[in-house]
Amino acid sequence: MSGPVRTTERLGWLPAPVLANVVIWAMLVAVPWWLPQVGGYTALGSRILIYALGAMALNVLLGFTGMMSFGQAAYFGLGGYGAGLALVHLTHSSWLAVLAGTALGGLAALIIGALVNNSRGIYFAMITVAIGQIFYFVAERWDAVTGGQDGLTGFSRQPLHFGSITVPLDDTAFYYFVLFFFAVGAAIIAILLNSPLGHTFVAIRENRRRATFLGIHVGRYVWTSFAVAGLLGGLAGALNALQNNFISPENLYWVESGNFVIIAVLGGMRSFWGPLVGAIIFIGIQSYVSSLLPTNWETVIGVLFIIIVLFFPSGVLGFIRRRVRPA
């Protein structure tokens, strides 16, 4: 599951991806035991997984299709509002709330994707960020439905029912709830990237013109990629709303879109697991620095952005990969 390109490298007697995957999943399952030992807390683990999922979804578009989208927050935020509004008005099921948020994010991406799929490069970046702002202003201004600037409150995640058993979603249970959806999202992305569809995405990234000459309808594939990124971004956003029992327009703002891009680039946008690594570092630094320097942590994040761009353009995983296996 390390993307469609590298599947045959071996580390010792095990194919590296299998070993790496076993280690990663074992670590993720064990988070509630080891994260508090190293100074974290379980809810931080949930937050990291949520942002990792949002950035992995974006990375289908950004890293694998080569489309510079700067509007991921729109679908992340819509997922949150979808889940929150469903809990306020429609349902008492956390499952259905997540489903509603995911559907809203996916639907919006499907519609917006139709509008933007023929744009490229700088145009695509500027258009996606500007369209994302539409949702921000709607959420900020439509007080009656969204709660306006103060955000949407009045909902909380509901206990899960399995037959006669009721599981309240405390921090640990919620972590596994998130991990379940993270695994579903990661599996969908992995299957997608290893399918002919995913290979077509990479072909478009590598040489759009040649892909066109081969008869590939590039616009449609970009649209598909865009919709997948939005759908799973909506899933991450829905989980985010449940984690905080709150959703605010800030989650739709372009700064949040920038956070998803930096998470993907920081970890390595050519790697399947890059966004997870990026989320661990980014969310980790954000929570550590914002408690250490409550007033100036934005400067630290800004300096981090610049250092990554100047010195680690292929991200942490890309950097390690080059050290381990010089080209």
């Binding site: 744009s119 490069g121 920038g258 100047l310």
Partner: protein, 289 residues
């Protein structure tokens, strides 16, 4: 009727700011191939520099010194950071670097001058209404529109008639050939970046007299500037001016009839323009893709 005129005039001023910001951003995108997310930040720098200097050198001195100092900071940023991006074709890096820069600028301004807005006083000669009926047309507002027109005109004249300006335009078309002809393209790009930043600084000083100064005043302007450029067509300077004026006036008129939608309307205009003309009003196919 007067209310509509009032909002349309407000929109025109807003549009003039967008146009000035879009001009600088467009120059930088064209020759430096960098989407400058920190453009709003540089506008804030210009505004606060003027605020800090005005007590010593007066409004008119600050109006000159603010943009010039912002432009000098621009050169430092270009030489120190931005130039390392020139070889990279993926726009993600320029977006991220300037985004980080925008965060640093906003944070620094907040640390130095505080998160609360500060007032900026303009000469009283400019502050009185010119007409009793159209009370909203104050001297300062007319001055702002005039100053922006002058700055845009000076830029177009510079690009059209000075040899350095001609080189910038040639570099936008084909930088490699210009370099091969012996032009110092490093200097060209550095100066071009500084000009773009100075325009943002100029917009900041002028905006300081209309709006209250705050560290985040650049954030909403930068998005509107993006929209102006996309509407006008990336790479077209005239398109940037046109796009800025269109969305400014549209937002102003919308706020007369349906105030809630005044923020959203510019994005709707952008969507419509893109459906009809995917490369903006004056953009050319193939550029920047």
């Amino acid at each position: 009727m007067e209310l509509v005129l009032f909002d349309a005039f407000n929109g025109l001023i807003q549009g003039a700011f967008y146009a000035l910001m879009a001009l600088g951003l467009s120059l930088i995108i064209s020759l430096n191939s960098v989407i400058n997310f920190a453009h709003g930040g540089f506008m804030v720098i210009g505004a606060y520099l003027a605020f800090a200097l005005a007590p010593y050198i007066g409004f008119w001195g600050a109006l000159i010194a603010g943009p010039v100092l912002a432009g000098l900071i621009g050169i430092l940023v270009e030489r120190g950071l931005v130039r390392w991006l020139y070889g990279r074709s993926d726009p993600v890096y320029s977006l991220l670097l300037t985004f980080g820069l925008a965060l640093i600028i906003e944070d620094s301004v907040r640390s130095i001058w505080g998160a609360q807005g500060v007032p900026f006083t303009i000469p009283s000669a400019l502050n009185s209404p010119l007409s009793a009926t159209y009370f909203f047309i104050t001297g300062y507002r007319v001055f702002v529109v005039g100053a922006i027109t002058l700055a845009a005109g000076a830029l177009f004249a510079f690009l059209r008639f000075s040899s350095f300006g001609v080189r910038i335009r040639a570099g936008i078309l084909d930088l490699e050939t210009v370099a091969a002809l012996g032009v110092n393209v490093y200097l060209l790009r550095a100066v071009n970046f500084a000009i773009g930043i100075a325009l943002a600084g100029f917009a900041g000083v002028l905006a300081a007299g209309v709006l209250q100064l705050s560290p985040t005043m650049g954030n909403d302007v930068i998005m509107a500037t993006f929209v102006a450029i996309v509407v006008g067509g990336i790479g077209s300077l005239l398109g940037s001016v046109l796009g800025g004026l269109i969305i400014g006036v549209a937002a102003g008129i919308t706020s007369a009839y349906y105030p809630v939608a005044s923020d959203v309307v510019i994005y709707i205009i952008m969507a419509v323009v893109l459906l009809v003309r995917p490369r903006g009003l004056l953009g050319q196919e193939g550029l920047f893709e």
